[in-house]
Symmetry: C2
Subunit: 432 residues, 2 copies
C-alpha cells in the first residue's frame, strides 16, 4: 500500500518532562534509523509544555512548543498523539478526543490505563486506531507487546513482577548492608530514587496500578488498581531480611496476577523469594516480570522500570508501530473488550507463609503451637528454633495454605499463653 | 478491512516432530483464544510427516497428514506455511517456493536463517508477506519481536546471550556439584539435554548460529554463522570454575554481538561473569539474552531456549501475527535489506581476561611476569597467589585489553623460565 501522507507522520507530544524531553531527543538523534524502520519520516509537529519560557535545549523550532494541549489534539497537522504528561485529567479527556478524531494514541500513563483502561481501549476500538502503552508498565522493558503478541497463542497462568524500582532499591540496600527501612529510604530519597512523600511507592500503590494493567492484558479481564490487594514494605525489618537470608530467601515487593477457575487474583505484597529464583537476582532499582505460561513455561523480562531514556525508548517503539500503520493506512492494533471477571478475595488466595513467633522457652510449647496450625489446616514445612535470652524464637515456613486459614492460625496463636508475640508474617513465593 | 478469507486462515505445517506436535495440540486446545486474538479462525489444513503410519494422537483427521511437502506449499488451500522440520534442504527450497507463491512463512529454523537469512528475507520482501522466525533463537523467549519492534526507536550497542541450554546445564552442574566436564556431559546426555554427539552444543556451533541471527536483526547487518568467532567449553575444568567462584565469578558460555565504529563483532566463548550480573543467575538449561541499548539501558529476556512447548508457543505467536495480516489483506512485516558490514577480527576485540600461571615459588618471578604484561600493553587489575607445593599459582585479572595484545602476552609468558605453565585463559565479561 502506498504511504497515505507524503511519507511523513506528524506527532503531537503532550508533556515535556523527563520522558518527553528524552523522546524528542531520541527522535532527532535516530531520525535515519527511524525512517528506515517505520518506512516513513517521524516528525515532531507540536510539543505541549507548561512553561513556554523555559529553554529545554531541544532541537526544535520555538513554534513547535505550545501550552494548548486541546489545540494539538485537534490540529489537522497532527497525525499521532503521544501522551507523556501523566495523571488522570486532562490526559483522559485529551486521549478520548484524539481517539474520537481518529488519531492513534501512544501513552506512558500508568495511572490512566490502570483506572480507565477499558474506556480508553473501547474508544480506540471504535476508531479503529492504535492504542499503545508499553511504557505504562516496566519502563523500557518490553512487556505489553510480548503479552499481546508473542504469547498470543499461549495461556498465561501467572505473572509475578518486581515493578517498583524505589522499593526494590530500598530492599536491596537493606539486604546488602543490613540497613533499616528508614535508613534505606533516606538514602533512596537522597539519590532521587524515592520521592519526598514516598507513600505511592512504599505502600505499593504504584505497583498495584501496574499489576492491574498486567492482569488486564494477560487475562483480557477488566482489572483496575482498586481491585488489587495491597501491602507495602514499611513493616519489613532488618531482622526479617536476616531471617530470610538464613533460610535462603530474599525479600522482594512482588506484584502478582494470576488466573484460575475463571477468577483473577491480583495483589501486591512483600514476599520471601528463594535465592536461586531469577527474581531474587533483580537488584537495585531494576524491574522484572516473571511470566508462567502453559506452553512457554517460565519467562522473565528484566530492565529499567523508570527513567527518561528507558521510558522514551518504549514510547518510541510504540510510535514506530503507530506510524507504520498510519503511513500504510492500516487499522491499528486494538485490545479486545476487557471482560468483567470475578476478582478473587484475598482470603481465598493460597500461598506458603513464613511466621516468626516469640515463645516461652519451656517444654510443651511446640506441641501447643503445632495443634493450632493443625486445627486450621495449615501444614508446617519447616521449623527452626533460636534461643533469645530466656525466650525462644520459632521460625516456621508452611506448606501452601489458604490465606483465611493462615489468618485464623495467627489469631489463634495470639491466644496461646506461651506465645509472647507473633512477629512477622510473610508470604513465600516461587518455591518449587 | 473485511477478512479476505471467510474468517479462517489455513495453515500448512512442514514437519511434525516435538515442535510440530506441540503446535498442532496448542492450536487445538486454544482455538477460542486464538480466534479472538487473530480475529480469524486458524485451521490446520495439512501437516507434513515422514511416516504416515505413525499415530501421533493428534486431534486431526488422517487426511490432514501427508508426506508431500512440495504439494502442501503449492496447495491453494494453504494460506500460511509453518516450517518446523529444520535443516537446510529441503526447508530452503520449500520456504522459497512458499514466499514466491505469496504465502507468509513462519519458521523455527535456526540453521537456515543463520546461513541464508538474507536470501529468505529478500524473498519475503519481494512478495510483501511476513517472514517470522521468533522460535529460531531462544525457543520461547520473545527476542526477535522486541529487537524488531519494541527497540525500533533505540540503538542497540551489544547483545550478550546464554543461548545454548545444554552447555548452560553442564556448566551449572560443574558449578553446583564440582563435577568435571566429562561427568556433567554424561549426566546431561542421560537426561536428554545433550545429544549422543554433543559437538554442535559443546563446541559452540549452535550458539554461533543463534548469535548470527541476533546480530543480523539487532544491527540490520548481514552476519552468517561462519562469521562468528567460536570457542567451546570442552577445555573448562572444575578448577577453573572453582577459581572463578573464589573471585566472585560464574563461568558461562556467552554469545556476544556488538557494533562499534561501523563494524560488527560476533563471538561465542566461555567467560567469567560477575556473580551479581543478571546472566549469572541463569541456571540449568535456561537461556537469556542481555541487551544494552543506548536509551533503554540494560534489558534481559529469560526463558526456555528449547523444547516442544516453548518453541511451539513462539511459533504460534508468529502465526497469529501472520494470520491477522492475511485476514485483513495487509502486507507482512518484512526485514529491511541486511547490509554487508565489516566483521571485526577477533584480534581487534577488547575484553578483560583471567589468566592462571604456574610459576616457580622464588623471588623476582612476579617482576619478570609483570614486565611481560607491561611490554604488551596489558594492564593488571588484580593478582592472587596460591601456594601449591613448591610452586605458586598466580591468578591475574586484567583491565580491558586487545585480544592480540593478550595473546602476545601469553606467548611471551610461555618463554619466561620461571613460568612452568600458562593455565586457563578466560575472558571476563560484564564487569563494571
Amino acid at each position: 500500500m502506498a504511504p497515505a501522507l507524503d511519507e511523513r507522520v506528524r506527532v503531537g507530544i503532550l508533556g515535556c518532562g523527563n520522558v518527553g524531553t528524552a523522546l524528542v531527543q531520541l527522535i532527532h538523534d535516530n531520525a535515519d534509523v527511524l525512517q528506515e524502520r517505520a518506512g516513513v519520516r517521524i516528525e515532531v509537529a507540536k510539543v505541549v509544555v507548561r512553561d513556554l519560557g523555559r529553554d529545554r535545549g531541544l532541537p526544535l523550532p520555538a513554534a513547535t512548543f505550545t501550552t494548548d494541549a486541546a489545540a494539538v489534539v485537534h490540529d489537522p497537522d497532527v497525525d499521532i498523539v503521544v501522551e507523556v504528561m501523566g495523571g488522570i485529567e486532562p490526559a483522559r479527556t485529551l486521549i478520548a478526543d484524539a481517539l474520537a478524531a481518529g488519531k492513534p494514541v501512544v501513552t506512558a500513563n500508568k495511572e490512566l490505563v490502570a483506572t480507565h483502561g477499558r474506556e480508553v481501549f473501547e474508544a480506540a476500538q471504535r476508531a479503529g486506531v492504535d492504542i499503545l502503552f508499553e511504557a505504562s508498565v516496566g519502563g523500557g522493558i518490553p512487556l505489553i507487546r510480548p503479552l499481546r503478541e508473542s504469547l498470543a497463542g499461549d495461556r498465561i497462568k501467572r505473572v509475578t513482577g518486581i515493578v517498583n524500582g524505589t522499593t526494590n532499591y530500598i530492599l536491596t540496600k537493606m539486604t546488602d548492608e543490613g540497613a533499616s527501612f528508614a535508613d534505606a529510604l533516606r538514602e533512596a530519597q537522597r539519590l532521587g530514587f524515592a520521592e519526598a512523600d514516598p507513600t505511592a511507592d512504599v505502600e505499593g500503590f504504584d505497583a498495584a496500578a501496574k499489576v492491574a494493567i498486567i492482569a488486564s492484558i494477560a487475562f483480557g479481564a477488566q482489572v483496575v488498581a482498586s481491585d488489587v490487594y495491597r501491602e507495602g514494605i514499611t513493616g519489613i525489618t532488618a531482622s526479617d531480611i536476616e531471617s530470610a537470608a538464613d533460610l535462603g530467601y530474599v525479600v522482594k515487593l512482588l506484584a502478582v496476577a494470576e488466573e484460575s477457575d475463571g477468577q483473577v487474583a491480583v495483589r501486591v505484597h512483600p514476599a520471601m523469594v528463594p535465592e536461586r529464583h531469577p527474581l531474587a537476582a533483580v537488584r537495585d532499582s531494576f524491574n522484572a516480570v516473571f511470566i508462567e505460561g502453559e506452553a512457554v513455561g517460565e519467562l522473565m523480562l528484566y530492565g529499567r522500570g523508570a527513567g527518561g531514556g528507558p521510558t522514551a525508548s518504549a514510547v518510541l517503539g510504540d510510535l514506530v508501530d503507530a506510524a507504520k500503520n498510519v503511513a500504510e493506512g492500516r487499522k491499528g492494533a486494538t485490545i479486545g473488550t476487557l471482560v468483567a471477571r470475578p476478582i478473587r478475595a484475598v482470603d481465598d488466595i493460597e500461598s506458603q507463609y513464613y511466621l516468626e513467633l516469640e515463645v516461652a522457652d519451656q517444654p510443651g510449647v511446640l506441641a501447643a503451637i503445632a495443634t493450632k496450625f493443625g486445627e486450621h489446616r495449615v501444614s508446617i514445612r519447616s521449623m527452626q528454633q533460636r534461643d533469645v535470652g530466656d525466650e525462644a524464637r520459632l521460625i516456621f515456613v508452611t506448606h501452601t495454605a489458604r490465606e483465611s486459614d493462615l489468618r485464623a492460625t495467627v489469631a489463634a496463636l495470639g491466644n496461646v499463653d506461651e506465645v509472647h508475640r507473633v512477629g512477622s508474617v510473610l508470604r513465600v513465593v516461587g518455591e518449587d
